[in-house]
Amino acid sequence: MEKDWLDHGITILVVILIFTVQMLITTFLVLFERKFVAWMQVRIGPNRAGPWGLFQTVADALKLMVKEIFVPRGADRTIYMLAPFLTVFPAFMAFAILPIGPSFEFVHGDKTHVVAIQGANLNVGILWLLAMSSVAVYGVMLAGWASGSKYSLLGSVRASAQVISYEAALSLSILPVLLWTGTLDLQEIVAAQSGWNWYAFGLLLIPFVSFFISGMAETNRLPFDLVEAESELVAGFHTEYGGARFMFFFLAEYINIMTISAVAVTLFLGGWNGPWVPVQADPAGWQVALGVLYFFLKTFVLLFLFIWIRATLPRMRYDQLMSFGWKILIPVNLVFLMVLAGLVVMQEVGAWPAGFFR
């Protein structure tokens, strides 16, 4: 099907929409986190900027943006300036491949246009996410190296070691889904989970839990936040950053949290699937809206879980972190992957009842 100007216009519109929503959600995610953590610590939390402190993050961002830009002596100027963008850019890009709502069609003139609420429907799908999260490590690593400070360097060394270790566990917990569905296309993965066949509810609960844990490590969230361990490394790799550049690191961190949650929703919790939103060729407008709502609702539940865990668990020791990643998560995932591969083969040769667990 040849794409005309309308299709391109729709794509641009959807991309702008996703970007805006992403920024908005990230802004409020910071506030939600602060609020929830405050409540769990029997505090009130930010409540001064706007009603219920709603504009706290906006105020913080404005403050950071007007602050002086400085480069510490001994820093590698070019790389120092570049690193925050290397971190924030992949964070935005990773979210672009996720189908947020059901695709719908509309007829304009004599042509039918398909609108996918998705930044880009890549045929490599989930591979893009892995690629982008790997690129994001460079930003952290270069930031630590270029700062010319021991804390930054230690933080970034820890960050790269941790992220590379848990990247393996993350990929290994995505593989069962790909094996089970037989595709990398995220639209098809979501469609395969329609009607309560959410993967987290079945055999794929183990990769879901493993994905969530390694996602936490990947985004340097609290039980795994050795990267910016305040009590040891001041602030880790972004010790020497301030103002707008610090804001980019901060932004990237929260976008990554949201992306990991959204990917977990897409892969394991049925994406935009839910009651009254079946996978069909031409859904009604309210069904599209409901699907988008389901997607963000599920993402929010996972985000709350992130925050809840952050408010509860203390930081892991570095050797525990590494041994947990390499000696528990990766072997468990490998064994599970082999068992699952066996099951799939058995189903294909008919030794296992078809439709069982599927």
């Binding site: 405050a38 409540w39 769990m40 029997v42 505090r43 809840w308 865990i309 509860t312 668990l313």
Partner: protein
């Protein structure tokens, strides 16, 4: 791996989320101060309006951080400032140096200087940290000349317990005993009822939402 322990911890944080918050919204809501709070000082008056300070400089002598400067002068016979020979002509406390130990209160032979529950003393200039008699001396009605926001000038009650407990005429178990002739403010006051019923010492409604806090005092 520690799943039970993690679940228990998660339950604690979950439960905490629905408990009433302990935060005091400070500028709007002030926690009641304990009766023996070491706030800023005032210079008191007798019931007839005479100043209690006799300019003896014992407070300045005992002050470990040398933050008090006193210069006494002879009372003018036709219009005496204090009963007796001399009065405190200059009385200055540098609150950047003061450590609020209260030794001056113990040293004072006439209870002229006492501590209060007032604590809002921010200044933007080092000069402003030196409080002279114009700020330290209570007014004609026994009110403190304090510039804090949450402040009722006539609230200078129940702040002398510590002084009573440590002064020679006082009693550690000071409840119900007017162990000393007077207290901050003006004139002679009735005996304290003890610390069990903390009065609302500051702005109206300061007790609201902070009941748990006042229970903390014995």
């Amino acid at each position: 791996m520690f799943i039970g322990a993690i679940a228990r911890g998660m339950r604690v944080t979950w439960r905490n989320m629905f408990r009433p918050q302990v935060t005091t919204q400070y500028p709007e809501e002030v926690r009641p101060k304990p009766p023996r709070f070491h706030g800023r000082h005032v210079l008191n008056r007798y019931a007839d309006g005479m100043e209690k300070c006799i300019g003896c400089e014992l407070c300045a002598g005992v002050c470990p951080s040398s933050c008090i400067y006193v210069r006494g002068a002879d009372n003018p016979p036709e219009a005496p400032v204090s009963p007796g020979e001399r009065f405190g002509y200059v009385y200055e406390i540098n609150f950047l140096r003061c450590i609020f130990c209260g030794l001056c209160v113990e040293a004072c032979p006439t209870t002229a200087i006492t501590m209060t529950n007032l604590f809002e003393m921010s200044f933007t200039d080092r000069e402003d940290a030196i409080f002279g008699k114009d700020l330290l001396l209570v007014g004609e009605e026994g009110e403190s000349r304090h510039e804090g926001k949450n402040y009722d000038p006539l609230s200078l009650s129940k702040r002398g317990g510590w002084m009573r407990a440590t002064s020679p005429g006082g009693d550690a178990d000071y409840e119900g005993i007017p162990g000393w002739p007077s207290d901050a403010g003006r004139g002679v006051e009735t005996a304290e009822t003890g610390q069990h019923n903390l009065p609302s010492v500051n702005a109206e409604g300061s007790q609201e939402g902070s009941g748990a806090v006042s229970e903390g005092y014995p």
